[in-house]
Symmetry: none
Subunit: 206 residues, 4 copies
């Protein structure tokens, strides 16, 4: 919730009715509850407390709702990561921090996490569009940290930064998916450091 609320506060170019916000939050809730294809625009409107037609004053169509959720959330996440990275020097510390942000943001907003993990994958088109822009920025930041680590001698030079980036992201992603599906109420962010530790040290003894 904080995620999107803050976004709006920071970019008050729209008449701050709160309607844009309200509809987006409602969409997250409804998409998470029923899935994108089983969610009706009317349900979202009711959840947001507006008329059906009002949704179309703020969003082009139903697809645009999903896209907006993704984009606004990722824009802010990327911005946050960028800010926080600027304050850190050790590449390992940076990975710890990114993991904490990734799992923290998701762990704080289960509905948003469901939309990201589940609903976004409903069509390759969505995924392609999505991974082509916002997500690739995230991945670029991770990759640069890894390359930086190799330059500074913290990480092995034998590892392929492209692959390492995918492995890092895949690990994060799987932690989130598992957390969503397991209905136990554990704290997702607690896994940030253990996972990064595992990636850092590897499975191998010695």
């Amino acid at each position: 919730m904080a995620l999107l609320t803050r976004t709006a506060a920071e970019s008050p170019q729209r008449p701050s009715n709160g309607k844009h916000e309200a509809i987006l939050r409602a969409a997250i809730t409804v998409f998470a509850r029923n899935g994108f294809f089983n969610s009706k625009v009317a349900d979202i409107a009711r959840e947001a407390g507006v008329a059906d037609g009002t949704v179309y004053l703020y969003f082009k169509n139903k697809d645009d709702l999903l896209l907006s959720i993704i984009n606004e959330a990722l824009d802010e996440a990327n911005e946050r990561i960028r800010r926080e990275m600027a304050e850190l020097t050790d590449p390992l510390e940076k990975l710890y921090r990114i993991a904490e942000l990734h799992l923290g943001l998701m762990g704080n907003d289960r509905d948003l996490a469901i939309v990201f993990e589940v609903e976004i994958r409903h069509s390759t088109k969505f995924m392609e569009e999505f991974s082509a822009t916002r997500l690739s920025e995230y991945l670029r930041m991770v990759r640069e940290i890894i390359e930086e680590g190799q330059r500074t001698g913290r990480f092995r030079t034998e590892i392929n930064p492209q692959i390492a980036t995918k492995v890092f992201f895949g690990a994060m992603d799987e932690m989130v998916t598992n957390w969503i599906l397991s209905h136990k109420a554990y704290n997702l962010v607690d896994y940030a450091r253990p996972v990064v530790d595992l990636l850092f040290r590897g499975f191998a003894r010695e």
Copy 2:
């Protein structure tokens, strides 16, 4: 393709019309092309060369098609992994082999891979059901290999096998997702060893 064909060959309890097979293959193709929700049963029927109604002689409904794809593919994958693991002893070798099978099966059948990566996220309910059974068997096998590696001294005892399993699976899954989304025609299975190597040795220098 081989995946499903073989399954049918091994369990010839149905009238070996080939219709069951043909419809399932058609469903994979069509689901991969349009996504589950945007696929019409009529499209699948046409692709399979049968009448609309015939689909319902072999499958309960549209959902059942997706379910059957997943279950048949995973059942065989698990069976294959089980067989191959029996012939290996070194846990690291086992992980290499699982990764090769995982990426090999997916890399050999892009449509099937798309269905797995994308359409499986049909709904949280669907995923829960699915991950509760077939997928958890796969994950159990991975976890047991890791625990075995810890007992034999190959893997560090400090790592949490649950987390390591998730990281392993997340890494595989992400490799597949990336391969699907990138339209470059590289060979997915080639990444099996590099990824496992990375997980085994870790990012850390020394």
Copy 3:
């Protein structure tokens, strides 16, 4: 026609679009023409001059259309009978009047008559439900008149009021059915008095 129009005028709780009315009239026309099962909702919509979906804004489903026709018509018929009975005293006169109302209402609206005679037999379950409420009220009024006639000495006490009621209703019903099936354009209400006379005096000479 007057039948249903009046009903709407008396209960203006709905936005008096006329759409509710128009759809109901269209349904009567179409059901009468094709039968319930052979009538398409799309036909009714076209006949009413609205879009298919609009039907569902006013009625729950196709069944509800039939139910509404029956209920609205019978409610008003019962109300009309009740009013008119209050102004008469002689039981025989009352039977004359009921017969005139019964045959008059039907004879004025052939389509409605067809729906009643034919489509009401939608299913035994439908008929049971229907005859349990609206129709039984009609029958109760008839029976009470017969019992009243026995008390006042107008009718023989040997007759069983239950049976007499059924015979009365059966006679009316058959007059309507015959009128519908015979395509001669005779005036149905003209038969009200002859039929009641016949029931009153019997077949017997003397």
Copy 4:
């Protein structure tokens, strides 16, 4: 049951497989249970213990099944009435006997009665076809008895035989309908004489 079985015995022009019979009985059962439109040919086939396609070796289509039920039953009923009338002379006795046959046949075969009372009315086309032939023969016999009664001085000459016939039939029909809908297991044929008595003497005192 006896009704149709006998018919077949009397007209053994078909290879007396019993299949024709079996399918017709199955159709009566299934139509009575589910209604004509909700009955599937496959259900009838299963009930009759034959394959779906076999139904079409004996009947032109689903409509033909309903028509055959009606026609065979009415043909036999008419034949029976004709025989029995030949042995009676008093017109009142004849009406008693017809009523007993009418209510007796229906009362002995609830499923057949349901098909007659409910399913036959599903479309005006069915009813028209039906009432144009077999039923009108039944009605003609009744009318002739009434006219005969008028000639012999048993019935009043003031009554219109056409109307009296309709009233008689309407009374019978309504007794059957009521018996079907009421789930009390009373004996329908017991009402034959009381109803005819009522029609004969009328409601009037004196």
